[in-house]
Each structure stands twice: as C-alpha cells, then as structure tokens.
C-alpha cells in the first residue's frame, strides 16, 4: 500500500459568471478516515463535491487519486474510480425492492441474453446487506423502509460498486436520534474496513461525534483542516462565519408573558395526536421537542387545519374556533411555516414579491385586480425589514439561499399580521449566520405580542430560544420544562420515555 493519501484535491478553483465559487482549495482524505466538510451555505461545499463527482470540471487544479492524477468527466467516471455520492435527497426508486435498487442497471445476467438472474441478484444483495450488518429483506420495497434504512441501502449500493470513498451530504437531516446512532455505528464499521467518508453536515454535534478531521470552507477557500480533537465547536463556528458570533442563541428581553392567545384542550386526531392540552401566551416562544414521528408536525398540521382534529377544542383569544382547512386557520390569525419549505412553503418558480404577497392578494385586490404598485411596496418593505438578500423583487425564489428562502416564507405570513405563528423546524438546512437572524426575528415578533410555537429537533435550539418547552412522545404531551433549568438530557429522556418525565418547570 502506498503512503499517498487516497484523495488529494489540490489548488482547485472554479468560477461561475460573477462568482468565484472556489479558489485554490486543498483537500486530502486518508484511507479509512472520516473527514467532515463544513461551511455556510454558499461556502463552496457542493461545488467542491460536484467537481469530485465529475459534474463540473475545475478551472484549475488537480485531483490525485492514490497519487495518480485523474480527470473526471461524469459521475460515472467517479464511480469507476470508487467514489460514490449519497445525496440528501435519496436516489432510490420507492416502488422497486431493495435488491433491484442496489443492482439497478447492473443486474446479473441470466442464462439467456437479456434476462436477469434474479436469485443471484438477491443473493448478492443479501451479502452486501450482511456486510453492513443490516437485517433488511432484499425483496422489500424501498418505500416501506424507514429513512435511515433507505440511507443504508444507498450505502450498500455504494459498496457494491466497490466504493473506496463515500460522500454523504447531510445524511441525518431527516433521521431520528436513534437512527443517527445506527448510521454512525455503520459509518464507523466502514472506516474499520478501510473505506473513507466525506461527511457534510450543518450539525456540529454530529461532526464532533463522528469525524476524525474537520475541513472548513468559507467563501470558496479552505480556512482550516484539523483533527477534531484540536478543535471546539465554537472555534469551528468562528472559522465558518469568519467573525466572532457573540451568541447564536440571543435571548430577547425577559419574556413578559401576555394573555393567553391560543388555548388548546384535549385535542386529538386519529392516529396522530392524542389529548393534547396547552396554552400559548402572547409574546411567548413555546418550544415543542420530541423525536421525529412523535406527533409534533401532526400537532402543527391539526392546529392549522391541514388535517382537522377529530375531537377537542381550539380557542383563540378566548373564542372557540373551528379549523377544518388552512384557509380557516389563516382567517383566525394562525400561520404555519412548514418543515419542508421547498415542497410546502414556496412557489419556487415565482418571484420574491409574489411569494411574499401571495396570502395578502385577496385582501389587497379590488374586484380581483391586483394593485401592483402597492404589492411591490409591501414586498419591498418586508425584504428590507427581514433583510432578505435578493438582487431584486423580481428574482425567482428558487435562486435564493436556504436562509433567505425561509425568510420569504416567514415574510408571507407576517404580511397577514398573525397572532399565532407556528414554525416547524425553522432553521433546518440553514447556515449559522442565517439561523441567528431567524432567532432574532422570532424574538422581535414575540416582543410585538405574537405567540410563537416552535417545533425543533435540535435540542440546543429548543433550549436556547424558547421561553417554555413542551415535549411530545407518541402523539401525547409528556412533559413541560423551563429551558433555564432543564438540560438536553431531561428533554431527551422525556422524549424517549426513559427515566421520569417530570413536569418540573411549572
């Protein structure tokens, strides 16, 4: 075995019209190493990985694979060398079974030309899955598997291609804590077999839990690459944003809890939430923690009328309201910023102004005619107020960064001046700088008397931002905590049902 690193990308530069996406980036990956690649959105991570995957050609620089210079023209070239990418959005076909997915396009041929030897295919698939210690039936359709297992099927596919280096882009963004732990065990097992992994994530705790080294990109340059042991999360954040981040979780003024704005009593929906009772005060940020699938999103959707409740009452400012559809919730003064902003929060092909004003059109228009001048003025105000970075109001939302897209969704609801704002995973996939801005905005709104219900899987966020925390498990509220005294472990044990789930903060 040579002493060369497995991968050495050297002096990589790439520019697009008007942007220098990468300049002189150096990156090495040793055999059997887990390298975390971190950086804010737009720092150049995906460009670098696309170059490694043969999607883009670099303007200058070289890729050395086992010390040999290589030129990659397509993902296929990369695959042949042993480089596999696992994207955030999985590339599996849901209606095909596991075995067919793993060997898609490379099915072992049967005795007649053009036929497939199915028994061989499933036997090989079984073997690949065993290698990873996975107890998955290769004949099961992929859509029935939990996300974490789907991810492992992707890994099995990569290994069946003899991958020596696997790039994982935000692999945990839709996994539960337990699934993340399973994934980590398997990544460590890969490392033990000499496979290298480039791990891209926004979640620093994970980076510190799994990686051997951390490479930080900022504005297209490598600002540092060090063993995790020599770094602290604070140092990494500072390297990523290039400035002292006084505090990401900046508390607003001490919560001056106002009147109860939203009172929910014994709210239930078949198969989703059971007997949920809580109150939300004006000016309060109420955090809702829990594992994925605990019923948090379902609670938000029930309050917002996406799926109406089967029993229980919802009161707004003391008045009982019936909410069967989102339109009714909106009229009552409730707004929901959904978990998946691209699929459920944005009109990606429409421009910034239209996206912001969409919910307000009905109120602005006379006889159905849109007063465009007024629309532009309102949209302009919100772009300024929320500091949405866009070249113009006519820019398509698709072209904005994740943080700015999220601000557009929030702005849309603010045009209606809601009394209750529900935010489901408001900072998912958003870089640290934009996160801080979203938190500041939430505190501002709370300061103006809006009641905020924030669902989040990130416990530091829950504890750092909320005035009060509810924990859900299996569709029920199982605990209430004061974030000033509660720890992540308290929330976790309530969420998982281990240990006592006390209502300490009352």
């Amino acid at each position: 075995m040579s002493t060369q690193p497995l991968l050495h990308m050297t002096h990589i530069s790439k520019s697009f019209p008007g942007v220098q996406a990468l300049s002189g980036v150096e990156l090495t990956v040793e055999r059997g190493e887990i390298l975390a690649l971190v950086g804010e959105n737009g720092a150049g991570k995906s460009t670098l990985m696309r170059i490694l995957n043969g999607v883009f050609a670099p303007d200058s620089g070289q890729i050395l694979w086992n010390g040999q210079p290589v030129t990659l023209h397509s993902p296929h070239d990369a695959q042949r060398l042993g480089i596999s990418m696992i994207h955030q959005e999985l590339a599996l076909i849901p209606y095909l079974d596991v075995g067919k997915n793993i060997y898609l396009g490379r099915e072992p041929t049967g005795s007649l030309p053009g036929t497939i030897n199915w028994s061989k295919l499933y036997a090989q698939a079984r073997q690949q899955l065993d290698c990873l210690g996975l107890d998955i039936d290769p004949r099961r359709q992929v859509r029935f598997l939990p996300l974490a297992q789907q991810q492992m099927v992707e890994v099995a596919k990569a290994l069946s291609l003899d991958a020596r280096l696997i790039v994982m882009d935000e692999p945990t963004s839709s996994l539960t804590e337990r699934e993340v732990e399973t994934l980590f065990q398997q990544i460590r097992a890969l490392r033990a077999q000499g496979v290298s992994v480039i791990y891209i994530s926004h979640r620093l705790e994970e980076v510190f839990a799994i990686a051997d080294r951390v490479a930080v990109l900022r504005d297209g340059s490598l600002v540092g690459c060090k063993p995790v042991a020599d770094l602290t999360p604070e140092q990494v954040i500072r390297m990523m944003v290039g400035r002292e981040l006084s505090q990401v979780y900046e508390k607003g003024d001490e919560a001056s809890a106002g009147d109860v704005v939203l009172a929910v009593e014994h709210l239930s929906r078949e198969g989703a939430i059971q007997d949920v009772t809580f109150r939300l005060h004006a000016g309060e940020i109420l955090g809702v923690a829990g594992l994925v699938g605990a019923g948090r999103t379902e609670l938000a959707e029930t309050l917002f009328g996406v799926h109406p409740a089967t029993s229980g009452t919802i009161r707004l400012n003391g008045q009982e309201v019936t909410i069967q559809r989102p339109a009714q919730a909106i009229r009552s003064g409730i707004a929901l910023v959904p978990e998946d902003r691209k699929a459920a929060g944005l009109f990606l092909r429409m421009n910034v102004a239209t996206n912001i004003v969409m919910a307000l059109f009905g109120r602005l228009a006379r006889w159905g005619i849109i007063p465009w001048a007024r629309v532009e003025q309102i949209a302009g105000d919100f772009v300024e107020r929320l500091d949405i970075r866009t070249p113009s109001l006519q820019q398509r939302v698709r072209n904005l960064s994740g943080g700015n897209q999220q601000k557009v969704v929030i702005a849309r609801w603010l045009t209606l001046e809601p009394e209750v704002l529900i935010l489901d995973e408001p900072t998912r996939g958003i870089d640290v700088g934009a996160k801080a801005e979203i938190y500041r905005l939430m505190h501002q709104l709370a300061g103006r008397g809006v009641g905020i219900l924030m669902i989040s899987s990130e416990l530091p966020e829950i504890l750092g931002v909320s005035d009060r925390v509810l924990v859900m498990r299996e569709g029920r509220l199982v605990g209430e905590f004061d974030p000033r005294t509660a720890t992540q472990d308290d929330l976790m044990s309530a969420a998982t049902g281990s240990g006592d789930s006390g209502r300490n903060g009352q």
């Binding site: 520019s15 019209p17 008007g18 917002f304 996406v306 559809r325 989102p326 339109a327 919730a329 909106i330 009229r331 929901l336 959904p338 699929a343 459920a344 929060g345 944005l346 009109f347 990606l348 092909r349 429409m350 239209t354 969409m358 919910a359 059109f361 009905g362 228009a365 159905g368 005619i369 849109i370 465009w372 849309r412």
Partner: protein, 318 residues
C-alpha cells in the same frame, strides 16, 4: 482574469436572449422563409386570412393554457365544442335569437368544463383520464342528439360572428383578440391569474397558503370548456352548419400551440404572448404548406417535425 470573466459573461448573455426572444426569432425566420419561397405569402389578404384561420385555435388555446398552467390537460375541447354547438344550432333552427343561442352555447361548454373541474379537483381523477372520458361522452352525446346529421341554416344574424367584419377586420379576429386581451388582464392583473400560476407551481404550498385550490381548478376547466364553445360558434357560423363530428383533433392543435409557445407541462410557467406566437406558428405553417402545394399527407409530417423541433429548441435553451 477580468477580461476573461467579462468575455464569459458576454457569452452567457445569449442564453437569456434566446430564452426571451427565441420563439419570436423562430417565428420571424419561418415568415422570412415563406416570404422568399412564395410571393403569395406576404400579402395583406393572406395575412388577414392566416389570422382568421388561427382565431379558432387561438381561443381554444387560451383555455388550454390555463389548464396546462395548473399541470392539467383538457382533451375534451373538441367534443365539448361539438356538443355545445349542435345544441345551440338546434336552438337557432327553432328560431332562437343569436344572443341567447350564443349564451346557451357558452353555458353548455362551461358546464361540461365544470364537470371536468369537479372530477379533477373533488374526485381527484387525473386530468388526462377525466377529460378523456368527457371527450368520449360529449362526442357521443353530440352524435346522439343529432343522430349523426349536421344541423344547417343558422340565420344571417348569428353568422355575423364568423363572417362579419368590424371595419376592415373580420369578426373572428376581433373575438380572438378580445379573448387574448381578457387572458392578458387575467394573468397579469388579477388575483385569480396569480393563483392559477401559484397552483401550477406548487399545489401543496397553494393549499397551505389558504388559496381556494379547488375553485381555481374548477375555474380553469370551466373556462376551457366555455372558450371551446365560443370557438365553436365561430366555426359553425362560418360553415352555416353545426356538425356532431366537428372539432376532432382540435385538442392537439391547441396543446401544440400552448407547448410550442413555451408553457411548461410541469405547470406554473408560461406566457400568453408565447401562446399567441405558438398559435400563429401553427397557422402560418398550415398556410405556408398550402401555398407551397405540399400534399396534405406530408403536411402532417412537416407539422409534427416542426413541433418536435420547437420543443427540442425549448429544452436546449432552458
């Protein structure tokens, strides 16, 4: 470095240029070619003729575009046209005045379209299937209603919509022009227009934003049916006869015009100007092929090839 970047940027500006004007350019080239190939093409009479011939497809295409913008399709326009016009023609034969007959025709078209809309939005039948069913059903009803016979003798007053003039301009062009004007206002200046685009862009977001998704869907199908019926009145007025077999294949001309005009089948994207040019391209093509004495069997081949080419070009410059 700076000059290199600048050069690349200048090179890149071709793309938005073609995205914007590519269609207009192709249309211009087509006209230029025909002007050179036939001295009968660029004459006032011929151009007016092209516009008049494109009026029917133009009117249907505006409705089709609304439907396609919401990720739908309306295969029933030809049959709806036939059913609405034979019933209206029957009314005229029984001595109805032109305006009530016209209103009846539009109402039938709108009602049939509304049924499409209900099937798509409430029963959640895929648009292709729902309107395919309506296509067969309406055709069958038109044939049963007339027992397969054409209805003739519509009266001079009614025929004005097809044969009359407003000053020097034939009525069909006036009607189509009004439809496009209405479409322009709807798309660019009304909430409903923005909602149609929003629904096609992302139905889930539209629902979660509180937009009346079902009503919007019903509107676009009803509008498509009513516009098909309106186009039908021009057709029967010109022929002085309503045929139960009228309008066969009209859905394809309309879909072709809309798609050549750059409206995306993925919904939420398209311009009315594009659709107008799409309609004109198809009309000019028909006209040109006749002027050049291309045998009718080959005309289809050329038309198909041109449509495929236009879509390829659209793909390439996107």
């Amino acid at each position: 470095m700076t000059t290199a970047t600048a050069a690349r940027e200048r090179g890149f500006e071709w793309r938005p240029f073609f995205q914007r004007y590519g269609l207009l350019l192709s249309f211009g080239l087509l006209c230029l070619f025909l002007t050179l190939a036939s001295d009968r093409f660029l004459t006032g009479d011929n151009l007016l003729n092209i516009l008049r011939q494109s009026a029917i497809n133009g009117i249907i295409s505006v409705g089709m575009m609304m439907v396609i913008l919401t990720r739908g399709i309306d295969l029933s326009v030809g049959s709806v046209l036939a059913l609405a016009t034979v019933v209206a023609a029957d009314g005229l034969r029984w001595g109805w005045a032109p305006l009530p007959a016209l209103a009846l025709c539009l109402a039938i078209g709108g009602a049939l379209g509304l049924i499409n809309g209900l099937l798509v939005s409430r029963v959640r039948i895929p648009p292709f299937i729902a309107t395919l069913g309506m296509m067969t059903l309406a055709r069958g009803l038109a044939l049963s209603y007339t027992e397969g016979q054409p209805i003739t003798g519509l009266g001079e007053g009614f025929r004005q919509i097809g044969t009359g003039y407003l000053g020097p301009i034939p009525m069909p062009i006036i009607v189509a022009g009004l439809v496009f004007l209405g479409g322009y206002v709807l798309f660019n200046h009304t909430t409903l227009g923005r909602y149609i685009f929003a629904l096609g862009d992302n139905e889930r977001t539209a629902f979660l934003t509180g937009l009346p998704v079902k009503q919007i869907t019903m509107f676009v199908y009803a509008a498509s049916g009513a516009l098909a019926a309106l186009a039908g009145t021009i057709l029967i007025a010109r022929l002085n006869s309503a045929q139960p077999s009228a309008g066969e294949g009209f859905e394809f001309d309309a879909i072709a015009a809309v798609v050549v005009g750059g409206t995306s089948f993925e919904g939420g994207e398209g311009t009315l100007l594009g659709t107008l040019i799409g309609v004109l391209i198809i009309a000019v093509l028909n006209n040109g092929l006749n002027l050049l004495d291309v045998p009718s069997f080959y005309q289809s081949v050329v038309k198909g090839a041109v449509i495929a080419l236009a879509l390829l070009l659209h793909r390439a410059i996107r």
